[in-house]
C-alpha cells in the first residue's frame, strides 16, 4: 500500500500534515505524536521580526468550532532558524514554513533567509484575518497573490504553497492567480471571519472585533472551497478546515486534495493525526486502494 504523494518535486511519505499555527514548531506535540510519521509539519506563521500578537482573550469556543485571534505571535524568522529549526531537523518529515509578510519585500526577504537546508517548502500566508498589515488584504486581491508568488518563486528553490482565504466569493480566481504566479500548490482554507459578543458588557469578545473560525463547524464550507479550487487549477491542492477523522480527510482527498492538514482537532485529541493515518490505511484496505493517489480527485459526479 502506498501513501506517498508528490507536490512539485517533493515527495511526502503520506498526505497527513498538521496545519500552521495549531502545532507550534512540533516540539510540544512530540510527546504525543511520532513526528517522523507525519507527512509534513506546517509550522506557526512567521513574520520577519518577532511579533507579540493580540491581547487576550485569543480563543473562544463556538458550536463545533473555535474563534481565534492570536495575531501571529511568533519569534520571527531568525528566532525560528536559531531556536526551532534544529529540533525539527532531527525528524524524518517535511518542514513547511508558513510566512506572513506585511509587504511583498518582507515575503521576499523571509524566503531568502529560509532558502536553506531543513526547510522543504514555504507556505505563503496571504490570508491571516488577525493582523492589520498584510494578511488578508493580500489574500483578497488576486494581483497581490500573483505578485507575491512570482517574487518569492524568483528567490527560492523551495516548493511554494500559497495559502488561500475563504473570505472571498469566488475561490477559483484566487487559486488561479497563485498558479499563474508559479505556485507549486495552493492550500486552503485559512480561517473564516467571524465574531462573538459578550452580552453582559455588550463588547466584542475580541479586541479586534473579528476573529477566525476553524474546527469541525467549517468542514462543509472548506470542502466546497477545496473542490472548487481543484477545478480551477492543475497544481496540487492541500485541503484543510475542520478535519477530525479519516473520513473527513478522505472526503477532502476525493474532492481533489493531494494532502490534508489537521488544525484545530489537534487540540481536541493530540494523537488524532496518528489515528487518521491508521484509519486511512484501513479505508484503503477495505476498498482495495493500493495507492492513495487513486483516491485523490476521484470524485464521481
Amino acid at each position: 500500500m502506498s501513501l506517498k504523494v508528490n507536490i512539485g518535486n517533493l515527495e511526502f511519505k503520506n498526505p497527513v500534515f498538521v496545519a500552521s499555527g495549531t502545532f507550534g514548531f512540533g516540539k510540544e506535540y512530540s510527546q504525543y505524536v511520532d513526528l517522523n510519521k507525519l507527512g509534513a509539519i506546517m509550522v506557526k506563521g512567521l513574520t520577519l521580526n518577532p511579533k507579540e500578537g493580540n491581547p487576550p482573550p485569543r480563543i473562544y469556543e463556538t458550536p463545533s468550532g473555535i474563534l481565534n485571534s492570536v495575531g501571529l505571535q511568533n519569534p520571527g524568522v531568525d528566532g525560528f532558524l536559531r531556536d526551532e529549526l534544529p529540533f525539527l531537523k532531527k525528524f524524518d518529515t517535511k518542514v513547511i514554513v508558513n510566512i506572513a509578510g506585511e509587504t511583498i519585500e518582507e515575503f521576499v526577504t523571509m524566503a531568502q533567509k529560509l532558502d536553506i537546508d531543513g526547510v522543504h517548502a514555504l507556505e505563503l500566508n496571504v490570508s491571516c484575518p488577525n493582523v492589520k498589515e498584510g494578511g488578508m488584504a493580500f489574500g483578497v486581491n488576486p494581483n497581490s497573490i500573483y505578485e507575491i508568488t512570482k517574487r518569492v518563486k524568483g528567490v527560492t528553490n523551495k516548493i511554494v504553497i500559497v495559502k488561500l482565504t475563504p473570505n472571498v466569493a469566488d475561490i477559483k480566481i484566487y487559486a488561479k492567480a497563485a498558479e499563474d504566479g508559479g505556485a507549486d500548490a495552493v492550500s486552503l482554507i485559512n480561517t473564516i471571519t467571524g465574531m462573538a459578543v459578550d452580552i453582559n458588557s455588550r463588547k466584542p469578545i475580541f479586541k479586534n472585533i473579528f476573529a477566525g473560525l476553524s474546527g469541525p463547524a467549517v468542514k462543509p464550507i472548506a470542502l466546497k472551497y477545496v473542490y472548487e479550487a481543484k477545478k480551477a487549477v492543475s497544481i496540487p491542492v492541500i485541503g484543510m478546515g475542520g478535519i477530525s477523522s479519516a473520513e473527513d480527510a478522505i472526503e477532502f482527498m476525493i474532492v481533489g486534495a493531494t494532502a490534508v492538514a489537521i488544525g484545530t482537532y489537534n487540540f481536541i485529541n493530540p494523537t488524532c493525526t496518528m489515528d487518521i493515518l491508521e484509519d486511512i490505511k484501513k479505508y484503503m484496505n477495505k476498498n482495495n486502494v493500493s495507492d492513495i493517489n487513486q483516491i485523490i480527485n476521484s470524485i464521481n459526479v
Binding site: 482573550p57 469556543e61 505571535q73
Partner: protein, 243 residues
C-alpha cells in the same frame, strides 16, 4: 487517555469534587485538560487539587456547559484527560514562613500545594463570597483563616484584609484566585517586598504550548512579552505579570 471517575460529589452548591484514576505524578500548581463531553469541543483546564498514588482530585465550579456536563457524570464513567500540564509553584527549602492565599474557585490547587510544603509555619488565607469549602482538608497543613464577603463564615471582608494581619511573618506568598484578588496580592507583595507566586487563568486551546492562545502579559526589557499560561505558567512570579 481515558480515565475512570471514582467520585463526583457536590461539596457545596455548584462546586464539585471529582476523583479519577490517573498515573502520571503532578507537581502542585499544574493542571489537567478534561474533555467535558456533550457538545463541547475544547478540553477545559482544571488545577490539580490533590493527588495520591494513581488517583487525582479536581474541584470545579459549574460555570458553563462544560462544567455542567462534568457535574452530570457518574462513578465509573470514563473521561478523556491529558496532563499534568504547565509549570506549577516552585517550592523552596529556604523559606520557613509561608503565606498561602486563595480566593473562590482558585483555592483547589492550593490544597495540593499546602500538602507538599514542608515548612513549619504555614498560614492559609481563604476567601469566599459566602459558603466555604475544603476547610477541613486545608486545616491539616497549616493555620487556616477564612474570610467571606458576607461575613457568613470567618472574617467578613476580603483575603487581602486578612493577609495584612499576618503579612509580616511571611517569607513567600503563593496565590490563586480571581484577577482582582491576584492584582491586590501582587500589590501587597511588592509593598512588603515579599516574593510572590501566583497562578493565573486564561482561555486555552491546546494546553501544551503550541497554539499561542493563552497569552499572559509579562514585563520584558523592551516593554512587554506574552507568555503562555499553559506552558510558562499557570504559575508566574507576581512581579512578572502585567494586569
Amino acid at each position: 487517555m481515558k480515565h475512570t471517575i471514582i467520585r463526583n460529589d457536590e461539596i457545596r452548591s455548584g462546586v464539585f469534587r471529582m476523583e479519577f484514576d490517573f498515573a502520571d505524578i503532578p507537581t502542585p500548581g499544574q493542571f489537567v485538560m478534561i474533555n467535558c463531553g456533550g457538545n463541547t469541543l475544547l478540553k477545559r483546564p482544571f488545577s490539580i487539587c490533590d493527588f495520591e498514588k494513581d488517583k487525582m482530585t479536581v474541584v470545579y465550579e459549574v460555570r458553563g456547559k462544560g462544567t455542567y456536563n462534568l457535574s452530570k457524570m457518574k462513578i465509573s464513567d470514563e473521561i478523556d484527560v491529558t496532563g499534568p500540564h504547565g509549570h506549577g509553584f516552585d517550592i523552596f527549602d529556604k523559606y520557613n514562613n509561608i503565606l498561602v492565599v486563595g480566593g473562590g474557585i482558585g483555592i483547589p490547587p492550593l490544597l495540593f500545594l499546602s500538602k507538599k510544603l514542608k515548612s513549619k509555619n504555614i498560614n492559609i488565607v481563604l476567601g469566599f463570597r459566602s459558603d466555604a469549602f475544603l476547610i477541613d482538608e486545608f486545616s491539616k497543613y497549616g493555620n487556616v483563616l477564612i474570610t467571606t464577603e458576607d461575613g457568613s463564615y470567618g472574617m467578613k471582608g476580603y483575603v487581602t484584609d486578612a493577609m495584612k494581619e499576618i503579612i509580616n511573618e511571611a517569607d513567600i506568598i503563593y496565590g490563586c484566585g480571581p484577577k482582582p484578588m491576584l492584582n491586590a496580592v501582587k500589590d501587597i507583595s511588592e509593598k512588603y517586598k515579599i516574593p510572590c507566586q501566583i497562578s493565573v487563568e486564561e482561555r486555552m486551546g491546546c494546553g501544551i504550548g503550541a497554539c499561542m492562545t493563552c497569552a499572559c502579559k509579562t514585563v520584558a526589557e523592551d516593554g512587554y512579552h506574552y507568555k503562555k499560561v499553559c506552558k510558562d505558567g499557570p504559575v508566574f512570579w507576581a512581579k512578572e505579570v502585567v494586569f
